[in-house]
């Protein structure tokens, strides 16, 4: 089965790495982590992402800019403000976004 592609954006290197690792613990998911808006926008075109997780340190200006860009490019994308870092919330938030 093709893996669900998930784009993770966060400003904290270690937390981003942890979130990516935790997402990838699910064999059906594949995470791509990006530290900057520019990196995320570039990566957005590299895969058929289903979910974007906006993580720690992404401020409201960046969030607005990224939301507008991603929704314009792909109106059915699910964008989730991920709270909690590498945490117990991750799977539930992704399942919610995927509508399971």
């Amino acid at each position: 089965m093709e893996k669900t592609q998930i784009l993770v954006i966060g400003r904290h290197t270690e937390i981003l790495a942890t979130v990516v690792r935790l997402v990838n613990n699910n064999p059906d998911w594949n995470a791509t982590g990006c530290l900057s808006d520019e990196e995320a926008i570039a990566a957005f075109h590299s895969q058929d992402f289903k979910v974007v997780l906006l993580g720690g340190g992404v401020d409201e200006i960046s969030e607005g800019k990224l939301n507008e860009y991603f929704y314009t490019q792909k109106p059915d994308i699910k964008i989730v403000q991920h709270f909690g870092g590498g945490s117990g919330l991750l799977s539930a938030e992704i399942f919610e976004a995927l509508g399971r």
Partner: protein, 238 residues
């Protein structure tokens, strides 16, 4: 008209990791129930028991208000802000993860279990500077009355967090009742019974049962037996 939701103890998620037994009131880690995602700004209420000397290794958090309330034993905390502390029954710990922190939590005792509540509240402000606080409470201040242990205000009783939330602990003798006034318009209360029997809004709750109540400004809480409980007063929209 008050709205309520009943969460019986045996409907919670359960994780058995050998060293950790966790009962989860809301979806957490491997437990996913779309009907149990949160109660307003309350996102996590885990009822954890950790084996002697075991615990949660170093791991990160961001943008979450994390509260620990030990019920038995001692919990050793270390974090990336250089805080090292042991909290025990009668203490409360609050941590604002904000822009990001790493921490670990271990059972300080090498011979007995630690039992504690782990509570996560969505913050009302993102990317704040991380901070840590813990205080020791006077257990007598909750005997037959409500003891405020958390609020949004640093100069108020208890620890403070970045959310319009208030926590109260009560230890009531059988038959005692008390009216609780919800602290802020739009807030609701998640009442969690620690032990004994409590009656709220005609609903009898046993140990580890919970009742969420909202769309009201006050309610009566009555002890059906000697009982201890926690009231979590949080915004329903945030």
């Amino acid at each position: 008209m008050a709205q309520t939701i009943l969460h019986k103890a045996n409907t919670r998620g359960h994780a058995d990791h050998g060293w950790l037994h966790s009962y989860q009131s809301f979806s957490f880690a491997g437990y996913y129930n779309p009907q149990r995602m949160n109660f307003g700004a309350l996102r996590v209420l885990n009822d954890d028991t950790v084996d002697p000397g075991m615990g949660f290794g170093k791991h990160p958090h961001d943008n979450m208000e994390i509260i620990s309330i030990p019920l038995e034993g001692g919990l050793e905390h270390k974090d990336s802000m250089n805080n090292v502390a042991v909290i025990k029954n009668g203490d409360i710990q609050a941590m604002s993860a904000g822009t990001g922190i790493f921490h670990s939590e271990y059972n300080f005792d090498r011979s007995s279990e630690v039992k504690f509540l782990q509570i996560w509240i969505y913050p009302n402000k993102r990317n704040v500077e991380p901070r840590y606080d813990q205080i020791s409470l006077n257990l007598e201040d909750r005997h037959n009355k409500l003891q405020q242990v958390l609020s949004p205000n640093a100069d108020d009783a208890g620890v403070s967090i970045h959310q319009d939330a208030w926590f109260h602990l009560g230890k009531f003798d059988k038959g005692l009742s008390n009216e609780y006034t919800i602290k802020k318009e739009g807030n609701g209360v998640y009442a969690f019974v620690l032990n004994g029997e409590v009656i709220i809004n005609g609903e009898t709750l046993s140990s580890r049962d919970a009742l969420g109540i909202w769309d009201t400004d006050k309610f009566i809480i009555e002890a059906g037996t000697d009982a201890e409980f926690l009231l979590i007063d949080v915004p329903m929209k945030f």
